[in-house]
């Protein structure tokens, strides 16, 4: 029996009529507990549990304390752990990211929150040069168990300087681990793994996913629940085309897969979860099965995550490809403010469906082959 759960998507002040049709069909896994959790609650509980388990974990950032978090992710933590462990900072990203790195050098486990990853550009020198490269430069003497987290990518109507996706930039740097969760289970498991990890982790969340609810299994609610870093998840099994995505685009990919299923294309959707290290074996195994690939990302196309995946496929599974790889990315322009232009600048479900059909040679422009 199929249980149909309707997703309520909360967007800040922006009416979203098209997303009312987002109906999640849970076929393969029936959760007996059927507990739902928003991504926001998942992140909050993950930080909470890690802070209570290890007194060396602290959280630092703008508005994380009294304001309860700019996006309410750190709600209640100040009251629970006090101002020594939940620190409100002045507006100095370079300063407090550097302070976090220094604390990590000396054995503490900071969680640095950037209000959005756009602001991390003011601190990028510390993320790359002080954090990522230290273990190497010191020949293993100094490890940096730090987590940089915050919302990444486009929100709704916030303009060019607030909508940049940094997955590609951070993932190109050796020494960093870059994670991008989608569901609440991803968020919980990956954040706990990140905090426990001895290396610097860049944790890319998505503002529009914070309010989304996902079912969580009893196993995920356990306080020692962790997801492995570097392993992708196959969200939906299929055999005709592989679609890789991360963060918000996973939701779009799953919806596109539903539409494609009605047209006889059985898509396999991979949730990357970890951008660095990229789970090349899972992606390649999937492509060897389906022989076609569509990569999706919200960020800019040039030198993006999709470009790296294409290269990986070409290097390892070239003979298995039956069609050129389709790469869907955000438009190659700074994010415009006007609502209609913004919609065109970010991949939509129709774009994914079209690309998948092209990959399967089922688009109307080319001769149809079964």
């Amino acid at each position: 029996m199929l249980r149909i759960i309707k997703q309520r998507l909360a967007y800040n002040g922006l009416p979203a009529p098209t997303l009312e049709q987002g109906i999640r069909v849970i076929a393969s896994r029936a959760y007996s507990t059927a507990k739902e959790m928003t991504v926001r609650e998942a992140l909050n509980s993950a930080i909470d549990e890690e802070m209570s388990a290890d007194p060396k974990v602290f959280i630092m950032g703008e508005e994380v304390g009294e304001y309860q978090g700019a996006y309410k992710i750190s709600k209640g933590l100040l009251d629970k752990y006090g101002p020594e462990r939940v620190l409100d900072t002045p507006i100095t990203e370079a300063g407090f990211a550097g302070i976090g790195v220094g604390a990590a050098y000396y054995g503490l486990r900071p969680v640095i929150e950037f209000m959005t990853f756009n602001f991390s550009m003011q601190a990028i020198d510390h993320i790359i040069n002080s954090a990522a490269k230290s273990n190497y430069m010191s020949a293993g003497q100094i490890s940096v168990p730090i987590v940089f987290r915050g919302p990444n990518g486009a929100a709704a109507g916030v303009g060019a300087q607030h909508s940049h996706c940094y997955a590609a930039w951070y993932s190109s740097c050796p020494g960093l681990k870059v994670l991008a969760p989608y569901s609440s289970e991803d968020a919980r498991g990956l954040l706990k793994a990140a905090i426990r990890d001895p290396d610097p982790v860049v944790f890319l969340e998505n503002e529009l996913l914070y309010g989304e609810s996902f079912p969580v299994s009893a196993e995920a609610l356990d306080s020692s629940f962790c997801l492995p870093i570097g392993k992708a998840k196959i969200e939906r099994e299929g055999k005709d085309v592989t679609i890789t995505a991360f963060s918000k685009m996973v939701g779009y990919a799953l919806q596109a897969a539903e539409i494609l299923a009605k047209e006889g294309i059985n898509a396999e959707v991979i949730n990357l979860r970890s951008i660095r290290p990229l789970d090349r074996s899972t992606i390649n195994a999937s492509v060897r099965k389906t022989n076609r690939l569509v990569t999706i990302e919200e960020g800019f196309p040039q030198h993006g995550v999709g470009a790296e995946i294409c290269a990986s496929i070409l290097e390892e599974s070239f003979e298995y490809l039956d069609a050129p790889v389709e790469r869907i990315a955000g438009a190659d322009v700074p994010m415009p403010y006007a609502a209609n232009l913004e919609r065109m600048a970010v991949p939509q479900i129709e774009d994914i469906v079209r690309a998948a059909k092209r990959a399967c040679y089922k688009s109307s422009l080319l001769a149809a082959t079964a």
Binding site: A70, I91, G157, G159, A160, P336, Y337, A338, A339, A345
Partner: protein, 432 residues
Amino acid sequence: MAFSATTKIIQPMCINSARSPDKSDTCTKLLSPSSFLGSNNKQFSINKTISPLSRRSATVVAVSSDVVKKKKVQSNPASNLLITKEEGLELYEDMILGRAFEDMCAQMYYRGKMFGFVHLYNGQEAVSTGFIKLLGNRDCVVSTYRDHVHALSKGVPARAVMSELFGKTTGCCRGQGGSMHMFSKEHNVLGGFAFIGEGIPVATGAAFTSKYRREALKEDCDDVTLAFFGDGTCNNGQFFECLNMAALWKLPIVFVVENNLWAIGMSHLRATSDPQIWKKGPAFGMPGVHVDGMDVLKVREVAKEAITRARRGEGPTLVECETYRFRGHSLADPDELRDPAEKAHYATRDPITALKKYVMENSLASEAELTAIEKKIEEVVEEAVEFADKSPVPARSQLLENVFADPRGFGIGPDGKYRCEDPKFTEGTAQL
């Protein structure tokens, strides 16, 4: 050269380092609980004593709000007024425009016509009007995301700003920038930056250009730049870097701090080791001035001095305006952390009411004239909304325009020719 006061009686007091007792009195008054209350959850007692000013070559000036107010009320001869009737009406109209526009923005946001981040300027109009109305067209203004009123004061038409907020193609940036990115080449508004602190180096660069034109290109250029930013920005590294360079190279810039005591939910007192921002000017070798930012006339007097100083080539000034925002940080901010008593206190110091009172008490204009201005502005703002409503949304092809100024940047097309030679080159490479 000391930061000299003008010869009029009712003037910001010029207090040099010799008169520190007077100043520390003012400072204590500024920091007393009755003035502003900072964080609600924890009472922060200001334990540090105000250190006496060290004697420096650059004079430190502080304007005490209460002292000047007292003086103003006592002596009231007509010949000693700070403004003429025309100036008074101009200032009033500009402040009313700022207030009415921002209130309309709030209405439109809650009706869904505006979206994303909208940061309103209610309560701070005296700073924008006091400074920008003294500038010429060629002088530059650089601001942060709270930039609607700066753009309006500088002369960008209300309909262009409103259309921009609605995301229409008739906006000042054709709908591509949005609330936080108001640019106007014609009026020399250099933005509108989302990251605080980002605008300060840009403004310093504009001032540098002015100096460069004068000295390297030998042009006749005395353009001044104003950089507006808040109290939160004064903890950011870029601010200090630019104070240093502006003073070092004597750039024609005025750094205007709109200290409204709050950075989203972070009280200035909780975030800053020494909350007196004006002090950071002399540390870098420029005068630091503190002024009551809720009084447009005081702001204007200080602005006149600072701008004239910059135009004469004497270098930068740091002006800290004590002001307050009546609304939350943005329209999405629930504004729970600010004490209602603090808000009420500042509501009584509304700059528009203060100017109205001054104008009427000194018989500069009648009630009828002021009401006529209010009506006129109401119509301007409503017309702006209608214009924005009727304007078209951007065309699909606009998505790919203006990425580069040089279209050759799009490279070579599939047929081997430069894309810019293709008559459809502005469509770029995406499939629309």
